[in-house]
Subunit: 272 residues, 2 copies
Amino acid sequence: MSARVLREGRVRLWLEPEDRGLAYGDGVFETLLVHAGEPVWWQEHWQRLLRGAARLHLPLPDENEVRRECNAMLGGTGRAVLKIVLTRGSGGRGYAPPADALPTVVLSAHPAPEAPARGLHLRWARTTLATQPLLAGIKHLNRLEQVLARAEWDDADIDEALVCDSEDRVVSAIAANLFVLLGGRWLTPSVERCGVAGVAREWLLANLPGAAVAELSAAEVSHADAIFLCNSVRGILPVRRLGMREWPRDDLVAPPRALLAAAQPAFDQRGA
Amino acid sequence: MSARVLREGRVRLWLEPEDRGLAYGDGVFETLLVHAGEPVWWQEHWQRLLRGAARLHLPLPDENEVRRECNAMLGGTGRAVLKIVLTRGSGGRGYAPPADALPTVVLSAHPAPEAPARGLHLRWARTTLATQPLLAGIKHLNRLEQVLARAEWDDADIDEALVCDSEDRVVSAIAANLFVLLGGRWLTPSVERCGVAGVAREWLLANLPGAAVAELSAAEVSHADAIFLCNSVRGILPVRRLGMREWPRDDLVAPPRALLAAAQPAFDQRGA
């Protein structure tokens, strides 16, 4: 992994210990797939970063500077994962956001994940997500619920978990959004009370025929004709198993995967 | 402000950009008053740090090493604020907590706050706190709700705000706990659904005659005979005004202040 920190026009390899990203999780982040040396869905990620920053009233970095440093860090790497963290910068002690805050941007590059050899095995998380409309939808840095949900198992045969809110509505997986085929339509839960509006989810809602937002119970998800997870690093991942329920074939997930692969060659890989 | 970072047995002035404290707010913190060169309520703070770390399954730092570095950083400073942040350390990308995580400890010293010249002026926060029993009570690093609540005003005449949960129960101030005198007893809200179990609050619940935990509505707080805020940096702070309600005299808050000052000379200052 390599990392660099953009701060007050300089590039560094370290973070100031008084950064508000550490103190309060006062920031947002994006995780992008890099394919053929180019970040995939850059504009969509940058726009979501700006939406999150606007919600939190964060100071904004210069897009060209960030893009330039991303390219410099990636240095022609063909396939990788690029993470961009934006924080309110350094700000002493106390919750009050400094009026003259300058943004900190932390960039890091990571190996791209392997394409899974089979459909995913999922479990239900016991951890539930709190309802907080002020923070819902954006990809902020307050992620302890996800850390707790992911810490519930260390069985290597389980790939991911589905999480519900405190009123038993299904929200998403821990690090991916969820689509469920019910009555011939692909449905995905709302992210207005909690959860993240993933870039892949937004693309599918706009481009997958009949895709829609719907309230979903655990029983409805278990009884769906097919389900898949999606995020902008791994694309569409068919689910093979959820608790005791099994979907032995992936063929119903093939059309959305083909649609995505046609639009974004980065996702045109078996299982990627 | 000065800061130092303890990591893998070394002392540094900078933080690794891949620290999980930044990535996910994956950690806890304590804020202590330093008086006559000594951290006040060290044991109580250290025990709460351990309770928070246990809840999140964080790796533990060595108490003696942390205490030694605190002393070295403070260097005989008479009065100051000491902040201790504990994170799960560095951990690549992904929510799964590394099995072999090593803790990061960030220490910083800040000027002690001035004693306010008058009773506090409070407002009601529009931001409400989400209900999340898994994180309630501990002083974790996911503090965006507090940042949003504090960003609601920049009128220098307002000192703090009271926050409610999503079901209109009063929880606390943004950076302090709340005690309310009702029917001759000092009552403080529960922190089992959200909020922080402050060290000063715990001390008062154990030592202030008749003090108890109770469910409180905004109307009950507004109609109380007296109210005060408390935290372990500022001790007990009488409230003069809350929205339209005014408590012109501090005399009902004098007995708990005298009790605290007798037990902890650090808080034996008019208005401190």
